[in-house]
Subunit: 212 residues, 2 copies
Amino acid sequence: MVRTARFSEDDFIQAAMALVAEGGPAAATMQAIARRVGAPTGSIYHRFESRAAVLGTAWNAAYASFTRVLTPLLHQGRPREAALAILPWAMADERRARFLLLHEPVALFEDTPPPAPLREALERLEDEFDAAFRACVAVAGDGASRDEELARAKFLIFDAPVAILRPHLVRGGTLPPFAARMIAELHAGMPLAVTPAHDRHAARGPRPVAVA
Amino acid sequence: MVRTARFSEDDFIQAAMALVAEGGPAAATMQAIARRVGAPTGSIYHRFESRAAVLGTAWNAAYASFTRVLTPLLHQGRPREAALAILPWAMADERRARFLLLHEPVALFEDTPPPAPLREALERLEDEFDAAFRACVAVAGDGASRDEELARAKFLIFDAPVAILRPHLVRGGTLPPFAARMIAELHAGMPLAVTPAHDRHAARGPRPVAVA
DNA sequence: TGGTAATTAGAATGCACGTTTTAGAATGTG
DNA sequence: CACATTCTAAAACGTGCATTCTAATTACCA
C-alpha cells in the first residue's frame, strides 16, 4: 500500500446496514452509502466489486455475528438460553438487528445476487446454523416427526423470539422488560425435547469457518 | 362508459401482488406489472395515479381481507380460533399471503408513500384491528401490565402464527399438518386472559368501514 | 528526490424506471 | 351515422441509478 486509505471497507458496510435499517433496501443506493461515509461514489468500487457485494458482505457479517452467539448454546443443548440471547444481541447494535431481522433477503438479493464467494460463505453459515439446531433437538421417530421437532425448535429458538422482538425493533428505543419474560414463558409452556449430551457430539455440524 | 375495458383494476393489483410475492418490491415495476397483464404500460395510469397507488391499493386489499377474518373472532373473545384462522386464510391465496406477511411495508412505501386517501384507509384498518385486540384481552392493572397483556395477545394471535407459517410461505407448497398443532400447543401453554363477554361490548372499536 | 502504486475525487456513461404524451381504436348516445 | 368519451397502444421524456473513466493526490521506496 502506498497511500493511507481515508475510508475503510467497514465504513461502507456500516453505512449500508444503517441505510437498509432505516429506509429499506431501496434506500441503500451506492450514492447514499458514499454520501453517508463522506466519500465519492467511485471509492466504494476500490473495495467492493458491486452493490450486491456490499450488501452481501454486510449480510454475511450480520448473520455471522448472530450465529456466533446462538450456535454454541445450541451445541450445549440450551435452547432457552439461545432464545434469550437474541435480545442482548439485538440491543447491542440495533441497526444491525434491524438490517438482519426486518428484511427478507429476497428483497436485497433478488435482482442481482452477490458474487459466488459471498453466496458460498452464506451457505456455509446457514448450514452450520442448521446443523446446530439438528444437534440440539432430540432424535425421535421417523422423518415426519423429526421434521416437526426441528420446526418446533426453530420456532421456539429463532422465529418466536424474533417475533417478540420485532415490534420493538420497528418502533426503536429500549426493550420492554416483558420481552424476556414472554420468551421464558413460551419455553416453559411449550417445552423442547433436547438431545442427551452424549449424542450431541455425533450430530455436531462442521467446524465453524471464517467468513469475510 | 363508452369503450369496454380489456384490463380491470384488479388485473393490475393481482399482477403487482404476484410480482412482489415472487421477487420482492423491486420486482414490481410498472413495466413488469403491465407485461404480466399483457397491457401497455400507460394503461395502468388510466386506473391508478401512480405506482404507489397500485401497491397501496393492493396492500389495503390484502390487509382488509386478512382483518375481515380475524376481527370478528377477536370481538367474540376467541383468540385461539383467530390464531388458527390465519392458516386457511394464507393457503386460500398464497401470493396474497406472501405479499402481506413477507414484506415490511417500509420497503414498499418508504420512497414514495401512497396517496392520502389510501393512507387514511389503511390507518382506519389498522385502528380497527388494534381495537379488536384491545377488546379481546382482559383489562388488568395499570398501564404497564396492560401493555404487556396487549403485546402477549398480539404475539399469540398474530406474530407467532405468522412466524410458524413463514418458513412454509417462503418455501411454498402445502402446509404441514403440524403448523396448526404448534399454534394450538402454543395457546395451551401460554394462555391469554380474555375479556368477559359483558365487558367486550364496551371496549369494541368503531364499526368496520368499507375500503376501496 | 523522483518514481510508483494505491487511493481519492468527481465527472461521464448507459441503462432501467416512472411517468407523460400522442395517436388511434372501440362503443354507447343523439 | 357522427360525436364524445374511454380506453388501448406504443413511443418518448426525464430522472436516478450502478458502474466506469480520467485525473489528481498521497505516501512509501529506491
